[in-house]
Symmetry: C2
Subunit: 426 residues, 2 copies
């Protein structure tokens, strides 16, 4: 982790760069995979699995017996934990449902919005180096609250051809029964175009590697919605002299262990603290099973020493982190000045990992600076808000002169006529 | 307008096709334009204007004197209309602001979401065949309500190099002062990458032709957010024997006049009504200034005769129209069964054009079937919802076993450590 002391503002952009690899090769590979799945459906899913040294399966769909078997294999302790997380995530997301509110903008003119669940949605749960059953909760719970009629899930199988039991258990808890064993860009293609085993969906959610991300961006160009663009995961910690160096090092490492391309940033006015964090990082790192990944991530990472708190806050907003841990005095007031972040963790008892699993907030968040313009996943992500309007005769009379004069000024005479004919022949 | 009588369900997809041209040529032209603007900035904007036979300007930025002059040229009657529309749109959109609600998911664990305006947004207002000052209201009002700090606008100048006075007046009313004379894909590129005259933005909004749409999709791949993908405008009218054929014809024409690539659809169980609408279409069409465009749009359009109301509703949902006019008995109950539409107009006194201008709802809506997964523009489109969480010591104690067991089951030991270290060394 490189220490950058008192960086000049015009240097920030350089220091805040993400470790993103060149996308062009990845995009072109993903494009080929998309085309193969579009043309050959399930056969392509099987032959691509073979090509990528994944298990090749006859049945792509997880059977109900496999789901029951998965449930039996999860320990009671883990089941209980997943249930607690489920309860908290559900409680937080249920409050995101927007009730209908009818507004009379003028006498006789009523307008309202109604949230309607997207009919068919697809969730992608990565396999790879970790079985992310927590992501099943983070995507499945809001999908169900939103009222999506068809929720399907794709996830790559383990080496033995099975799906990780905890993923199956979480899916069952959420109420997802259509689970397909497919991973990577090919899974995204299957949900976008449909195959014999995989139903077509209108929107695709979920994290994944660079190929998954590229595939999501490509199908988005073809009209399938996606949750958000994604990049490697990241955290930024804002700390001061009151912070506990060990806590901060632990938070940085919990992000660094995600992958070699993760990035962790520390911002502080206190040079001593930064030094203590560096020492603690080395101590804690040694004991981690994923220490090789974490160490690579630390190579992409920086600790900034800045001259005052305002500058620290500006630097954080310029970085626009996915996760922001505010571990300093007056943390709540600092939080109030954050304008670019995915999810914010306030105070010394709030490590990032509580939000990754169970505090209630969603962990599918905008990375790569996308928090400047994107929100994390919520119930909003799974609904369309359709607008409605109904005018009485009085309402139409009230608005008619306005609509007609604006339409005519735009040269839209037929727009005006649609009002006029209703006034003239009732 | 072709009449399709009793189409079989497996034929719907074919009949509901949109008149979308092949995008590959458009995408490649847009890509070249993007690259030119990225490399050459304002010079590219000027040389592209020359190439596309647009006025070539020294000053790309509209001066405050031009804005004042524009205001003087708008008639009082039109000003009043724009003010009325402004008031209604503002009233409807202000109710979309989400207040902060703090939720305690477990004792000692509080979570909330806060809406924060996207710092820098760019609005694109098309020129072309009509001066769409109404779009200035539809994008500018929610941007200001959302609290976006920097709202800029690009719009192509008229042949004399000026911006249409009504566009300037609407911008002034909304409070937008940074207005750049640039149109097409090059305007999108300028807002995405920045030039000497055009500030960089984080999200780009607004309708436009196929090149504008392609440019928006391309910059989205490069990390700039966009409001939604777009296609030609469209309306679907659901009518029955109680409907007034003249009203329906007028509504269809008000959409058809948008452009040759617009599409208008009629769905009814009543063959007689459909015939009457066809007659009325011909009568009303003759008097329209934009009749050539409208007639071409009608060539892309269809009237469906179906056997019952349920089938009519299913057909509408399968089409997923941008605008839906429900002009039949029990219109409100029908509206309740709509799951795919951008904006819905209920009852005989609610022509689509009231929503295009002044009822209060937004007219920037998902076309091309995108209403299956996308909402129209609203205040939501201009904010990020950042999540926050704060745990007390009690809260961390309550959630610790859950987080640690889930993290360890996912193989994420550092995630677990971030909790453990806080329990062990306080």
């Amino acid at each position: 982790m490189k220490i950058i002391s008192l960086p000049a503002r015009d240097q920030w952009k350089t220091y805040l760069k993400r470790p993103i690899e060149d996308q062009s090769h990845i995009l072109s590979t993903a494009k080929d995979i998309l085309e193969e799945v579009r043309m050959q459906g399930d056969d392509a899913l099987r032959s691509l699995a073979r090509k990528f040294h994944e298990p090749v399966l006859q049945d792509l769909m997880v059977s109900s017996e496999e789901i029951r078997q998965g449930e039996r294999e999860v320990t009671d302790h883990l089941k209980q934990s997943i249930q607690t997380a489920y309860k908290n995530i559900k409680a937080f997301h249920e409050k995101q449902v927007t009730p209908i509110e009818v507004i009379e903008t003028m006498p006789g003119i009523t307008c309202w919005r109604k949230s309607v669940g997207i009919e068919k949605v697809g969730l992608y749960i990565p396999g790879g180096t970790a079985p992310l059953f927590s992501t099943v909760l983070m995507l499945g719970i809001p999908a169900k609250i939103a009222g999506c009629r068809e929720v399907i899930m794709c996830t790559p199988p383990m080496k033995d051809g099975r799906v990780h039991p905890a993923i199956l258990y979480a899916a069952k808890l959420v109420g997802i029964t259509t689970i397909i064993k497919a991973g990577g860009a090919q899974a995204i293609a299957a949900m976008a175009f449909g195959t014999a085993s995989v139903p077509v969906v209108h929107k695709i959610f979920g994290p994944g590697n660079a190929y998954v991300t590229a595939a999501k961006q490509l199908v988005q160009m073809q009209g399938v919605a996606i949750d958000m663009p994604a990049g490697p995961s990241e955290v930024c910690v804002l700390a001061d002299e009151t912070s506990h160096a060990g806590y901060i090092a632990a938070d940085l490492l919990s992000q660094a262990e995600h992958g070699a391309d993760s990035q962790v940033m520390l911002v502080s006015c206190d040079a001593d603290l930064v030094q203590q964090v560096m020492v603690s990082l080395e101590q804690q790192l040694a004991a981690l099973p994923r220490k090789d990944l974490a160490r690579k991530a630390l190579d992409n990472s920086r600790a900034f020493i800045v001259s005052n708190r305002e500058e620290a806050i500006d630097l954080v907003n310029a970085y626009a982190p996915e996760h922001l841990v505010i571990c300093c005095s007056n943390a709540l007031q600092v939080a109030d000045q954050i304008i670019n972040a995915g999810s914010v963790f306030i105070g010394k008892f709030t490590p990032e990992s509580v939000g990754d699993y169970a505090s209630g907030t969603n962990h599918t968040l905008p990375t790569n600076g996308f928090s400047r313009a994107y929100s994390g996943v919520s119930v909003d992500s799974f609904v369309k808000k359709i607008t409605f309007q109904q005018l009485s005769e009085e309402g139409l009379n009230n608005i008619a002169p306005t609509v007609m004069s604006m339409a005519e000024a735009e040269g839209m005479v037929a727009h005006s006529n649609a009002v006029r004919i209703r006034l003239e022949s009732k």
